[in-house]
Every structure is written in structure tokens, then in C-alpha cells.
Symmetry: C2
């Protein structure tokens, strides 16, 4: 899965989107599960009351600079500290010996990667960017949008057999299908970028503290604060980090201080709360998140198992070092396959007022569709209702497409 879940490319009915105000969805409105807007977490943060409230005075944070002593001079020291504490508390990634680079969402960092990793090329010697399908739908567009002569999208990592340098984007757990991923090209001359947006306990068992050369994370999927646009990279090679920082300077001269300070506070609260399990205060964010995800996945599995119209992934039971339990994954997206004979699963969903993302956009098959599992409760319930209706209708009729 990917750093963040793009909202672009979506034909969206205004009524379908969350406007942050009207949360009761009229039952004939389109529901938008195309993007992974993580509004599910609002209920947790409401319960936390004022613990995460930030107050910023008019005269604060005027300067461009956050910490001139850091090569990443626009990284707020408090955010750096919270990131390290949180990874330490969860045990999902090593931070010692890494440079932290902050971006306006991890999309910004993904945009920076090919620039930072391409060495001065000759004409017609662009570095290849590949990923194994189904891959995060934004990768091709991020790579090719401005048609750089430094890098190009080279598609399917399974099929990449050129004797040329390459960057492989490895999303793990994968967006769209939640699978744990490793490099598929697996030969010299490649640089691996690990997009670990969903490597948090609510989505997947934490099986080791990762220490890849380049690892990307985002607040959007970790805590649900997508509107803050805060992503971070853990980068081993100082020269690569410097080029990423340069990219951030030229594109946006740094990253919002307000967002950084707010996310710093939120990560700190998550790190403090996540040390206690089954606390009556209910302040373990990951425990609450995992329980919400598990409940939704159970409902979805029950719904699709009634009929044989859709199939969804199964995930292995694994020991999670963080919770200490043996559990399976509960990904932020359901990667659903329609039964034989239904060629366009996205259209089928759309006809039933569910916006979801076609498998085609992930370099895969239109018989698949990706559905967000992290929207608001009302949306999820409506989704389950409509899914049931599609199945019942299909059982009585058989002609859906």
C-alpha cells in the first residue's frame, strides 16, 4: 500500500465527499470510498478531549527556519523527537543512524525520491522507476507528471529485465491489497524505497523493526490526520537525504510549521498511550484502531461470504511484536474481486452509488476494485447495506453489467 491515498483522478459528486460538517449521509447519496480519507479516527480523537489541542499565537513560527543546526532546517525539533519516540514505542522502524526528512505528506517525499536518487544522467538515460502490481495508483503519475529527463515510470517490477539502474517502490503492507511485500526485481543496480504508510499495528502485525535504507511514513494513515499533510522519510545515506531536502526547498521552501507542531503533539500522545494495553481509559490509539478495523473486516467478511459474488484477501496469522498477540492483518483497503463474468467491478459499484477505485489504476485487472475501510461509520454501514443489495439483486437477476 502507499504512503497516502490520492484523492485526485476521482470523478466526485459533491454530495459524496466528506465536507466535515454534514456527516449524516442521505441514504440515496453516492458514498465515496475511492480515496482512503481516514475519518474513521475522528471518534477516537474526540474522546481524547483537550489532550491534543494545539494553541498557536499570532507571533509564533514566523520564520522559515525550524532548526538551522539540522541539515533538514525546516524540520521542527519536536516533530523529530516525537517520530523517534513513536517508532521506538511501536518497534516498527529503527531511527538511530537515520536522517529524518519531513514533507508535505509522504506524496511530497515520493515526488522527491526519483530526483534524489537519479545521478546526473546522459540524455536518454533516465533512471527507471518500477513497482510490482497491484501498485499504488499514484506512482506512475507522480513519476511522469512533468516528463523529467532524469527518471521515468517503467511499470511492472516483475517484468523489469533491463540492465539499467532502477528505483523499486515497495509498498508494505501493500496498497491496494494489504500484502507484506519485498523487492521483486532483486538484482544489483537497484535502489529500494519502502513506502511503509500502513506499517502500524491497527492494520498489520508488527513482525520486526525495519531498517531499510529509505523508509517513508505519513501521519495521514498512522493517526488519521490527513489534512495536516505531514509525511516523513527515514534515510540512511546522508547525501540522498540532502538531495531530498534540496527538493523540498525548491518546491515548497519547507513544510508547514503549524502542521508539524500539531502532529508532533499527536504522535507524542499516541506514543504515551500506546504503552498500556486494555486500559479502561481507552487511550491506546493502536488498540482502539485495531479493534475498529477488526470489527469492520469481520462485517465485510460475513457479508461477502453469504454469496459467492465477491472474494476478498485472506491474511496469515502472525505474531505481532507490539501487541504480543497472534493476529491477522486488517488493511485500510479491501481489495475485492468480482466473480467471473463481471468485467468492470468499479462500474458495478458505481451503479450502486459506491465510488471505489478500479483495479486498472493499480496496474491490475478491472475485475478488482479497491474500497476504503477507514471512512466514517455511517459510510461504512451504507457500503455494507449496498453491497448486500448488489449481491441479493445479482442472485435474483444475474445480469448486472
Amino acid at each position: 500500500m502507499a504512503v497516502t491515498d490520492h484523492v485526485h483522478g476521482t470523478t466526485q459528486s459533491p454530495a459524496a465527499a466528506n465536507d466535515g460538517v454534514s456527516k449524516d449521509i442521505p441514504c440515496d447519496d453516492v458514498i465515496n470510498l475511492d480515496n482512503g480519507d481516514p475519518t474513521m479516527y475522528e471518534s477516537f480523537w474526540k474522546k481524547m478531549g483537550d489532550k491534543c489541542t494545539v494553541v498557536i499565537k499570532g507571533y509564533e513560527s514566523l520564520s522559515y527556519f525550524s532548526n538551522p543546526k539540522n541539515p533538514c532546517w525546516f524540520l521542527e525539533p519536536k516533530l523529530e523527537e516525537s517520530i523517534k519516540i513513536l517508532h521506538g514505542a511501536v518497534g516498527n522502524a529503527v531511527t538511530d543512524g537515520y536522517t529524518i526528512v519531513v514533507g508535505t505528506g509522504s506524496s511530497h517525499l515520493l515526488n522527491a525520491m526519483p530526483y534524489a536518487l537519479a545521478s546526473n544522467p546522459q540524455p536518454n538515460h533516465q533512471i527507471n522507476v518500477v513497482s510490482a502490481p497491484p501498485y499504488y495508483s499514484a506512482y506512475p503519475e507522480i513519476t511522469d507528471m512533468v516528463k523529467s529527463r532524469l527518471y521515468k515510470w517503467a511499470g511492472n517490477a516483475h517484468e523489469f529485465d533491463k540492465d539499467e539502474p532502477y528505483i523499486e517502490l515497495v509498498t508494505s503492507p501493500n496498497n491496494p491489497n494489504g500484502a507484506i511485500q519485498r523487492s521483486m526485481v532483486n538484482r544489483d543496480g537497484g535502489i529500494l524505497v519502502y513506502d511503509l504508510a500502513y506499517y502500524w499495528p491497527q492494520y498489520t502485525p508488527i513482525t520486526s523493526s525495519l531498517e531499510f535504507d529509505i523508509m517513508l511514513f505519513t501521519a495521514s494513515k498512522c493517526t488519521g490526520h490527513a489534512g495536516s499533510r505531514i509525511g516523513w522519510a527515514l534515510v540512511k545515506d546522508k547525501e540522498v537525504a540532502k538531495k531530498m531536502i534540496k527538493f523540498m526547498e525548491v518546491t515548497t521552501i519547507g513544510v508547514s510549521k503549524e502542521s508539524q507542531l500539531r502532529v508532533a503533539k499527536i504522535l507524542q500522545v499516541v506514543a504515551d498511550g500506546c504503552k498500556h494495553f486494555r486500559s479502561p481509559k481507552g487511550d491506546n490509539f493502536f488498540e482502539t484502531g485495531q479493534s475498529m478495523m477488526k470489527k469492520r473486516w469481520n462485517i465485510l467478511r460475513e457479508t461477502v461470504e453469504k454469496h459467492q459474488m465477491f472474494s476478498i484477501q485472506n491474511y496469515p496469522l502472525q505474531h505481532c511484536n507490539y501487541t504480543g498477540d497472534v493476529t491477522q492483518a486488517h488493511p485500510a483497503f479491501a481489495w475485492m474481486k468480482c466473480k467471473e463474468g463481471i468485467e468492470d467491478c468499479e462500474k458495478l459499484f458505481r451503479d450502486h452509488k459506491i465510488l471505489a477505485r478500479s483495479g486498472k489504476k493499480f496496474g491490475s485487472d478491472p475485475g478488482f476494485v479497491r474500497v476504503s475501510m477507514v471512512g466514517r461509520e455511517e459510510e461504512f454501514n451504507l457500503f455494507i447495506d449496498r453491497l448486500s443489495k448488489i449481491q441479493s439483486f445479482n442472485n435474483g437477476d444475474g445480469n448486472l453489467d
Copy 2:
């Protein structure tokens, strides 16, 4: 002058930068006037007390979306409203009939411009990006960083005579030299982008409410909130706006909500306060800003006039529609020329522990240097002290280089 003043490319001593904590500068430390960090305004915002304080609760602004009914779905409605009210109150730009696109600083919007304005090109038919020197030092780097096949930096607008499409970046008032600018190419086939970062009353007389096709502004230079990274574009052509929005989506999936909400509040307070002149409350931001700039420019002029070592620009007296007064410009930068015989003005300043930006970086002469006029009081005072010393030393010795 430019949208924002880049900090990158600067070899910076840690002690030289503002760390936001230690504001008393040891008198032998380097002072950094290379970038235009607008910390001068902190004193005004401190006086405003809690008027501009923002409070954001943990559960607010989780969603990617700010306003799904707006093509720029990530623009906070309150920011949109404040931008319109402020331009209306100051009378510096028309907003009716324009689409507002928000960016992570106006650098982000500048990055978006060539992508949004390049139509599908053939190989070797990149659109040319030009500007008249001295031009904002970041333009060449923004245009050429990832070596796009859609556009290229084509340099000096005065010398551009190809019969090819072009984008002309017109910064007015100009960064570095504060001059009011118009198109220099002045023939068909060009698209003009007006970078109006400094078209506010504290810097220059407001002589008309501009209505160019594309106009860029930034909170950094308007109110001093550079750390918030909020810029906005007023765009007449809806299709161009859509392509800019697309660029924002692919590069960063929108813009920090925290920053937008904070800047919305600040612009609203500025707009409310700027209706009253010479109020004993001192809450007219532009009046206070203009008075601070005027004072600094008077001190600088007095200092350089004592000797004949440096020359600085003169600006015409003009009627300002906003204040109703006849006044001259007091730009955010001083564009200083060393006397004949001093070839590297930046080096001269550096040797005297003043970091400033060489004229070379603006497509101009190393005999010029650009110096920020919007830093903290202590920095400005040290700058004047050291400038006096350079001049005295030069008068006694003559061998400076």
C-alpha cells in the same frame, strides 16, 4: 521581487540563522541577510495579543477535503473568504471572476505554473520560461530542477527573440530591486505570470487594483508568516486553474489545513485593522509595517550617503490609493551596488560577517548584492554597524578585496 525568498543555496553558519529562541546575536556572529526571513513582523504580532491565536482540537481537520464543492477541493473556505476580503480592503488585486488556488507557499504555485501552462508538447518543443534580470534567484532552479521535457529556463526576457511560445515571470515590485515591472518580451505567444508577493502597502504604493490573468501572492511577505507556507494564486482561466490544482494533488495532495486556518484568521485580523489609519490602538498592520520599513530605509540611506562606497536604488514618489498619501517604495530588500573596483560585493560583505546574496544569482552583476530589510531589529542594527565599519575601513585603507 519574488513570491518568496528562497533560503536554499545558502552556505549558512548555524549561528547565523534565526533559531527562534536566542534572539540576542553575539556581536561577532555572522548575520544572515541572504534570505528574506520576515521576522521583523514578530513585534507587531506580539502586540496583537490573543486576537490571532488559533486553537485546533485533536479531532478537527482529519479529512483530506476542505471543500469538495470547490474545484480546489483542498482550499479552506475561511481562507478563500479572508483572501477576498483582504484584497478588497487593500485594493491591490481584483478577485471577482478569479479562481483561487492555494499552495504550500507561492513557491509551490511557481513550480506548478510551467506544468499548468505547457500544452502537450512535441519532443524538443519545451515552452520557454523567461524573466528580466535582475530576476528572483529561484526561478532558474524551479524551472530546471527535474529537467522537464515540457518546459525549460530560457533566461533573460530582454534577449528572448525566438518565435516560440513562452512564459514570462514578471515580479512586481521586483525581487531583488523593488522596481515596478511590466512584460519585457511584449509580443504575442506569451503567457504572463505576475508574482506579486511584495505588492502590499508596507513595501510600495498601491497604484491600482490589478487584474492580470495569473497573479501570485504569499502570506510570507504579506504578514510575515513564512513558516506557515501559504501562497495563493488568482487565476482567470478555469482550465489553467484546474491544471494547477492537479499539480498540487500529485505533488502534495493539497495544503496543510492548520496553516490555512491560521492564515485565514491572520488575514481577517489584518483586513479588519487596516481600515483605520493612525488609530491609537496601532492595529493597522500595513501602517505599522510601512513605518518600520521607512525607518530602516532612512537609516540605510543615511549610512550609505556618508561615503560614496555603495549606492542604493531611488524610488519615485507615487500616490498610494490605499493610504491616500504620496510616498515612495520601501522594499523588503536593498539592492546595493559597490563602487567601481569592488568586483565581488557578496564576498566583501561575507568578510565582514554579513551574509547577503550576490547579484550573480539574479542574472546580474557580482558588483551588486541583495540584503534583506525584514529581519529582526538586532540583525538590522548589526548590519548598519558593520556597513559603517566597511565604509570607514575602506576610506582609511582602500584595499578591501
